[in-house]
């Protein structure tokens, strides 16, 4: 047993981004805030390095051999070789034994878990690395979990990840942490932002959600319900309810399954007011703690208690949070109530909202 390979989300060590990656550190912060976060642990970057210690040079060799302007199919081939070498050489050894043991400690070794990459530099403000590394859902059993951890590591070496790092100037693969968390058997799930990405309104939390697991929403495969909630008054100021014919759920076997939504449920809102209120409260706390607008993912467990919204991750919103809040005085330079009155009266239309400059997207 080597200290520092496995770190619980609540452990102080999980505050260190270099050890647990961006996602892991974000989850630690949520746990420290008292938010409801699925139980789990992080396989640290130290574990990654220990596992690859003797084999790293061998794994990366095919990529090192590539020239700076290598054609895409050559990158593909080299990346595939690197992954194969990694999976072959890293799957044995003491590090993965510790992963198996940590999984056994989590809900007696029968839990279904999500295994997600948490690379250093991922999920930081300014670069989302959204979807560039792999995630494995509904994994059960100690060997399956160890295998998924290995595959996460290997996803450092997909062609797209290699290209993305190249493009982002992020350099060689570095080290990757992996988060292993219990799956929330989600009745509904989605994403939220602590501002309205359509107009930069910081008084709202915008939330999109679907029935079942949130992955189809994050990947853009389905049209979600959309709710705009006022951060201050708590009112739901807008609801756009989508037709949601399919959902991703926990499969009979480990893994997920896409199934039909019953006719009477597909057109119904997938979040109720109590759930929205709980999400709003969490979103506000997260934003206040971080000091900048946030976006994040959440899942709503099956009914069973009043509090059932779980946060799966949060991170700084990357577009609007770098700008100043919208001006209340619309550039009129009004400094007193009288000058504001004059600005309003001479503008003609009272209180028409302006067209936003640019419409940043969610960034998954």
């Amino acid at each position: 047993m080597s200290a520092g390979w496995i770190v619980g989300l609540a452990d102080a060590a999980a505050a260190d981004v270099a050890t647990v990656g961006g996602k892991g550190a974000g989850l630690h912060r949520l746990v420290a805030l008292g938010a409801r976060v699925p139980a789990g642990f992080v396989v640290t970057t130290d574990a990654f390095r220990a596992a690859l210690d003797t084999v790293a040079a061998q794994v990366e060799a095919p990529l090192q051999a590539l020239g700076p302007d290598a054609p895409i199919d050559a990158v593909e081939r080299a990346a595939a070789q690197a992954r194969a070498r990694l999976l072959r050489t890293a799957s044995a050894g003491p590090v993965l034994e510790e992963v198996r043991a940590a999984y056994d400690d989590l809900a007696g070794g029968i839990a279904r878990v999500a295994v997600r990459s948490s690379a250093v530099g991922e999920d930081a403000a300014g670069a989302s690395f959204a979807g560039e590394h792999d995630t494995f859902l509904e994994i059960r059993g100690r060997d399956a979990v160890a295998d998924a951890v290995c595959r996460c590591w290997a996803s450092l070496y997909t062609a797209r990840a290699v290209s993305y790092r190249e493009h982002a100037g992020a350099g060689p693969a570095g080290a990757m942490a992996v988060v292993v968390q219990e799956m929330v058997p989600a009745r509904a799930a989605g994403v939220f932002m602590t501002l309205n990405p359509a107009n930069g309104d910081r008084s709202t939390v915008v939330c999109e959600a679907v029935w079942g697991l949130g992955e189809p929403l994050v990947s853009g495969a389905v049209t979600p319900d959309r709710f705009v909630v006022d951060k201050v008054s708590g009112e739901v100021v807008r609801r756009e309810i989508a037709d949601k014919p399919r959902q991703l759920v926990r499969g009979e076997m480990p893994g997920t399954a896409e199934v039909d939504v019953s006719a009477e449920r597909r057109g119904r809102p997938c979040l109720d007011d109590a759930e929205l209120a709980e999400l709003l409260d969490l979103a506000r706390r997260v934003e206040r703690d971080a000091g900048v607008p946030q976006d994040g993912e959440f899942a709503v467990a099956e009914p069973g208690g009043p509090a059932r919204v779980h946060l799966l991750q949060t991170r700084p919103e990357t577009v609007w949070s770098t700008r100043a809040p919208r001006a209340a005085t619309n550039g009129s330079g009004a400094r007193t109530a009288l000058s504001a009155v004059l600005a309003t009266l001479t503008r003609g239309a009272a209180a028409t909202s302006t067209t936003p400059e640019g419409t940043p997207d969610h960034g998954g």
Binding site: N196, N199, D201, R202, S203, T204, V228, D230, K231, V232, S233, E235, V236, V237, R238, A324, P325, R326, A327, A328, T329, N330, A334, R335, T336, A337, L338, S339, A340, V341, L342, A343, T344, L345, T346, R347, G348, A349, A350, A351, T352, S353, T354
Partner: protein
């Protein structure tokens, strides 16, 4: 079929039986061929907010008061930059209005004047408002002191021994002029503060929407409202009387259904009951001087006040007593509303850009100052002044009937105010000379004909608007006060959009379902059952107590600053206002869903 314009005012036909209706109103209040070119190009909408029903000739005074005063203060006194006054015309007995814009090239120069002039008021608002209350109260006392009585056979000795030097007949002529002029004067004060107040209030709305495009109107008004304004005092007095009844052990005796006169007579039989009735009577002046018109209080001479018809406030006291007996709290949660107001104000303020916060603070402070006036002026003018004006008018009409100048008191209201002055002179001259007035004989056929016309006009359903609609309705007062927007006007044009839904303005949030109760006259208020959806032309603060019973309110007219919307927000009850035609469309007993979040009413 959607048309692109409303009928021309010059193509409106006279309803059968109403021929000659024009003689009931002042000639300058009518469409006429001389102004055709101007008037046909304008967009006129029916002012059902202030005048939902056919105007009696005498009641035209009501329209004239605000026509002139609003116009003068906007156009000539404060130089409201974008807006002149609101022009008026009467068609088939209904009032149509059109806001007049200031010429675009004048706006900058007007803004400079407005800054000086309105700025003077904003800086001294509270002091000016204190003076204002004194001015208006003095006017109220002036008209309360007027007495209209049948002229005496012989003047009292005091006329001689006090050297009064003039006759009771002269005083009747003089006092009618005073009554009308004092009402006019009060309307100057009404608009001395109202539109610059609204301008400040609107500015706060505009500022919030600019910073927070998604913010709801309700959130903005909650940052400003919740004050302990005197407008709630009448309702608070009813609550106090309910508590007094409980303290005096009268719960049982008040729980019946007998009318106020019978009940009060019975209560006077013992000490506790007599104490309560005496309390009621003390409270009634001035707190029950509350007009019960749907819409703009005091708009017509025909609606009683609470004091005239104590059954209305009594029904509310009984309702409060029932809730007290059930252990409910009947107090308005003013402290909670204020705490919530401060909490959300701080919440939005925190989200602003740093250099906007000082302007926000200054503007919200001004908006709160003006809001107290916006609420309270209704009590001083729409209730106290108009109730007294109509009461004195009724007193005059009784005196004229007693003297045989007209056959019955109500006849006077079928005369225009200038004709009333003529009738008074006729009456006084004959009295003075000891001769016979031409009066009733001359007026009888005229009044009889006007009564027929009035009935024929009431059967006419006025189109919501006349003339070509502007492409964009953004005149701030039209939007805020009348609730008329580009969208609502296109909805009117769609006319027969009969898909079982009505659209209006989301006046107060929440969604409920319930049976419709159409109420067009306050005498129908006692019919309202707990859980009913109140459907009305508009509500008046006088109706506030009924809100304790209703599940939601739907009104034909009004915007987010209408009384319906304000009171419903206070009571935490959904409201859809400014639907245009809910009263004509919905039937008592139908089940509807009222969505106060989106402003939609759906027939289920």
């Amino acid at each position: 079929m959607a048309a692109d314009r409303f009928p021309s005012p010059f193509d409106i036909e006279t309803p059968p039986g109403a021929e000659g209706w024009e003689s009931m109103y002042d000639w300058y209040h009518l469409f006429g061929s001389e102004r055709r070119e101007l008037d046909e190009g304008r967009f006129w909408f029916a002012d059902r907010l202030h005048h939902p029903d056919v105007l009696h000739p005498y009641d035209e005074i009501q329209c004239e008061c605000w026509w002139q005063a609003l116009g003068a203060f906007n156009t000539r006194i404060f130089a409201m930059p974008p807006a002149f006054g609101v022009d008026q015309r009467i068609v088939n007995g209904r009032l149509y209005v059109t806001p007049v814009a200031a010429p675009a090239e004048d706006v900058a120069a007007r803004a400079e004047e407005f800054g000086k002039r309105a700025g003077h008021y904003y800086e001294r608002w509270d002091a000016i408002y204190t003076e204002w209350k004194e001015k208006v109260t003095a006017k109220l006392e002036e008209i309360r002191a007027l007495r209209f009585e049948p002229l005496p056979d012989l003047e009292p000795e005091s006329t001689v021994f006090d050297h009064t030097g003039h006759s009771a007949g002269f005083r009747m002529i003089r006092d009618f002029d005073r009554l009308v002029l004092t009402m006019y004067e009060t309307y100057q004060y009404h608009f001395e503060l109202l539109n610059i107040g609204y301008a400040a209030y609107l500015t706060f709305f505009a500022m919030c929407r600019q910073a927070f495009p998604d913010i709801s109107d309700q959130s903005i008004s909650r940052m400003v409202g919740g004050l302990r304004v005197e407008l709630y005092r009448p309702d608070d007095e009813l609550k106090r009387l309910a508590k007094e009844a409980q303290r005096l052990g009268l719960v049982e005796r008040l729980s019946g259904t007998e009318d106020a006169a019978t009940l009060f007579a019975a209560l006077r039989q013992d000490a506790a009951g007599a104490e309560w009735v005496a309390d009621w009577e003390r409270t009634a002046d001035p707190w029950f001087l509350i007009n019960t018109d749907p819409g703009h209080p005091g708009g017509y001479h025909t609606y009683p006040t609470w004091a005239d018809q104590p059954d209305i406030p009594l029904a509310s006291v009984r309702e409060y007593l029932r809730r007290l007996t059930d252990g409910e709290s009947i107090d308005r949660p003013t402290d909670e509303v204020l705490a919530e107001r401060d909490r959300i104000t701080a919440g939005y303020r925190e989200l602003l850009a740093d250099d906007d916060r000082a302007t926000f603070d200054d503007t919200v402070a001004l908006a709160r100052q003006v809001f107290a006036f916006i609420e309270e002026h209704v009590l001083y003018i729409e209730h106290w002044m108009w109730a007294t004006f109509w009461a004195k008018s009724h007193e005059l009409s009784r005196a004229l009937a007693a003297m045989g100048e007209i056959d019955e008191p109500e006849d006077m209201f079928f005369l225009r105010r200038y004709e009333v002055a003529e009738a008074i002179y006729d009456c006084v001259a004959a009295w003075s000379v000891g001769s016979r007035p031409r009066g009733a004989d001359h007026l009888r056929p005229l009044i009889a004909r006007r009564r027929e016309i009035y009935t024929a006009l009431r059967a006419w359903e006025p189109p919501p608007a006349l003339g070509p609609p502007p492409t964009q309705i953004d005149e701030p007062f039209t939007v805020m006060l009348w609730g008329i927007t580009t969208a609502s006007v296109s909805e009117w044009l769609r006319a027969d959009g009969d898909d079982g839904t009505l659209r209006g303005t989301a006046g107060s949030p929440g969604v409920v379902e319930g049976p419709v109760r159409v109420v067009t006259h306050p005498s129908e208020l006692p019919d309202v059952q707990p859980g009913d959806v109140l459907v009305c032309p508009a509500t008046s603060p006088a109706w506030a107590p009924v809100f304790a019973r209703t599940a939601a309110t739907v009104s034909d007219v009004g915007g987010i600053m209408s009384h319906t919307a304000i009171v419903c927000r206070e009571y935490g009850m959904p409201a859809v206002v400014g639907t245009g035609n809910a009263v004509a469309t919905l039937r008592t007993g139908q089940r509807v869903r009222v969505d106060g979040d989106t402003g939609v009413v759906t027939v289920l």
